[in-house]
């Protein structure tokens, strides 16, 4: 692993100025919110996290814990890419649309020829594209994400237009591609191997049957990618460069970082992560639709922001985003568990997003005043 320069300008370690890592606060918020739902459920005679069914022998309510991870896994994977882009000082509005376009294109190479004994009613291409090996749609999907991300990065790095505009353009265009690809028709009925990407038991195959978590592959992929990208962001030059460029782009350039190249790289990776999300989403739902992924970019950004990633760049972490995603999910599951009327859910969700950032800003100011 390459070594980077630490300890600049004679700043020495001062134990009194040490503060909690930001993630601890976010984690506390997660625990607090979970606790609130646990109490509300208890008042109703149930439980949020613990098993209350007499016919099941378990401490925890396993289904609840599974869904909490599973229902944010796909937007969470996008958020992992968005986190890197935001730390870099950019923004990616295109990820939801890239999911839509990738879903349509990848799925059309994953179809099966015969459904219930009839020819596939949703066939996009002829027989040559039917029952292809699963690697084909995966490669095509990842390729789509890579192209979209590369274009984003290229526009941001070399035309110097603001990332907001560059990725806004991609957001509109990629959605156009998603609708044009099959004239808005859904693409359904994938091969079994493609369906098993999300619905199989990846953890089982990875651990040679030691562990098993069937049907939860998006969650497994999310966790694996989060661990991997956390290590990358903390321990590699790649990660250090993201933080350096996000904190002070000019300083980063003058210290010899190829800023443009690094931006292209980060946006490309974000595009690929959106593609991974699209593949898992279509595999999980056994269908691709042009409207898939609408608003996912905003959910992903919200997860990062709740997790303490600063939109100003240079600050935040993968761990924070993962906790942010879990907060998101606990809120969704919690509302359903207490049977809160659907109308109120969105109102409260919006308030929590804004509240998280207000709290974070206040904490930042206080920290700045102290040092």
């Amino acid at each position: 692993m390459a070594q980077t320069t630490h300890g600049v300008g004679g700043v020495s370690f001062d134990a009194s100025k040490r503060t909690w890592p930001n993630e601890i606060n976010v984690l506390l918020a997660l625990v607090l919110i979970t606790l609130v739902f646990e109490v509300l459920n208890r008042m109703d005679g149930g439980s949020f996290l613990f098993n209350t069914r007499a016919n099941v022998d378990a401490i925890f309510n396993e289904q609840r814990i599974n869904i909490i991870l599973l229902q944010v896994a796909i937007t969470g994977i996008i958020a992992l890419g968005v986190t890197q882009v935001i730390i870099l000082g950019g923004i990616d509005l295109s990820s939801g649309s890239v999911v839509g376009a990738t879903a349509m294109i990848a799925m059309s190479f994953a179809q099966t020829a015969v459904v219930n004994g009839n020819p596939n009613p949703k066939a996009i291409f002829g027989d040559w594209a039917m029952d292809l090996p699963v690697i084909v749609p995966i490669a095509v999907g990842l390729g789509c994400g890579l192209v979209a991300g590369f274009i984003n990065g290229f526009l941001v790095a070399f035309t110097r237009i603001p990332p907001f505009i560059a990725t806004l353009g991609m957001m509109v265009s990629a959605r156009g591609v998603a609708k044009w690809w099959s004239n808005g028709n859904p693409i359904s009925f994938p091969t079994e191997s493609y369906a098993s990407l999300s619905n199989g038991d990846l953890l089982g195959s990875l651990t040679f049957g030691l562990l098993s978590w069937p049907g939860q592959n998006p969650a497994v992929v999310f966790v694996l990618l989060a661990v991997l990208l956390h290590l990358v962001m903390v321990y590699t030059v790649y990660g250090k460069r993201c933080y350096a460029i996000g904190s002070n782009e000019d300083a980063a350039r003058m210290s010899g970082i190829n800023v443009a190249r690094h931006k292209v790289l980060v946006y490309s990776i974000a595009g690929m992560l959106a593609a991974v999300a699209a593949i898992l989403l279509t595999s999980k739902n056994l269908t691709a639709q042009a409207g898939m992924g609408v608003m996912y970019e905003l959910d992903a950004i919200a997860m990062a922001v709740i997790g303490g990633v600063s939109l100003a760049g240079g600050r935040g972490s993968i761990v924070g985003t993962v906790i942010g995603a879990l907060i998101f999910s606990v809120i969704i599951s919690g509302f359903t568990s207490i049977r809160l009327d659907a109308y109120y859910q969105e109102m409260v969700k919006g308030a929590i997003i804004v509240g998280a950032v207000v709290l974070d800003q206040w904490r930042q100011r206080r920290r700045a005043a102290r040092s």
Binding site: L70, N285, T287
Partner: protein
């Protein structure tokens, strides 16, 4: 030289009156499965009749849709077909077309000013009350047939809360549950999954994790019904024991029905509405009069007649 110009001019005049048919269409949004079938039905019909169709996507934006209508009027189309984004915002559209004397046909979504439409305007669609009623009543009958008439719990999956069809279908479900024959049904919970399969899948899993006993899932559309089915199958629930109803009769739903997973859906003739709207627009443009409201009926789809619908949507 002059003569040839005049001849050419007359010829082109004749040609335009002979074809006469430039029709502008503004759809609420393109990336909706049902509206896509409707749109494609309209386009196919127009092609076979040699009609010039210009189809625009209003992207769920009321203002954009009104602008598109005004643009159609400005470019002198013979008739306009509108699939309204917001059914309560149709008065302005009616006024704009009426002021310019251009015939206008609303399709699929019932305009709020239906009772006061001028003579050269019409509505082609289905009577929305039928769909939810048909589905819920059949679901109620299935529950009775399964011997659950002494009490049954159901979940209701609702579409987008701002959408008229979602509100109406949910109300129809409630009305059916209110009648004597079906009042053994009680609703455990109702939530929105925004018409989406993925959201319905997550929501159903959340419901399952609460462990409450239930007998049926009534969904506002097929996509959500399929999402619920996928969640229940993942949790190891036998689809024999649960009644699942949807609306729309999409291809995916019909396949789910053939596989024995979905019990009830309702066919709304999207292509029929599209070609019906086009037909009404052509006739209004030719100066004929048509009925103000043209209903294309809903049809109940069950495993018994599912084969008839496989090639329809």
């Amino acid at each position: 030289m002059k003569k040839t110009l005049i001849v050419a001019g007359v010829a082109s005049l004749l040609a335009t009156t002979a074809m006469a048919q430039n029709i502008g269409v503004t759809m609420a949004l393109f990336d909706d499965n049902f509206l896509t079938v409707l749109r494609n039905g309209m386009v196919a019909q127009a092609e076979s009749r040699g009609i010039n169709l210009q189809v625009e996507d209003a992207q769920n934006d009321v203002a954009k849709q009104l602008a598109q209508i005004n643009n159609f009027i400005a470019s002198g189309v013979d008739a306009i077909i509108v699939n309204p984004v917001d059914t309560s915002a149709t008065q302005a559209m009616t006024d704009a077309a009426a002021a310019a004397g251009v015939p206008l046909v609303y399709v699929n979504r019932q305009p709020i000013n239906l009772d006061t439409l001028p003579d050269n305007q019409a509505f082609v669609g289905s009577n929305e009350i039928e769909s939810g009623t048909l589905a819920a009543f059949e679901g109620c009958k299935l529950l009775r047939a399964a011997g659950k008439s002494n009490g049954a719990g159901i979940y209701i999956l609702m579409g987008e809360l701002s959408n008229q069809a979602a509100v109406q279908r949910t109300k129809d479900f409630d009305d059916i549950i209110g009648i004597d024959m079906c009042n053994f049904i009680s609703v455990i919970d109702r939530q929105t999954a925004n018409w989406s399969r993925d959201q319905a899948q997550n929501l159903m899993t959340n419901w399952l994790s609460s462990g409450a006993e239930f007998d049926a899932v009534f969904a506002n559309n097929d996509e959500m019904a399929i999402g619920a089915i996928q969640a229940m199958k993942a949790a190891g629930i036998s689809m024999e024991d649960v009644v699942v109803t949807g609306v729309d009769a999409t291809q995916d739903a019909l396949v789910a029905m053939q596989a024995g997973d979905l019990d009830v859906t309702v066919f709304q003739d999207a292509a029929g509405q599209g070609s019906g709207a086009l037909d009404a627009a052509v006739r209004l443009a030719a100066g004929e009069s048509v009925q103000t409201t043209i209903y294309i009926p809903f049809q109940l789809v069950t495993p018994a007649n599912v084969a008839d619908f496989l090639a329809r949507n």
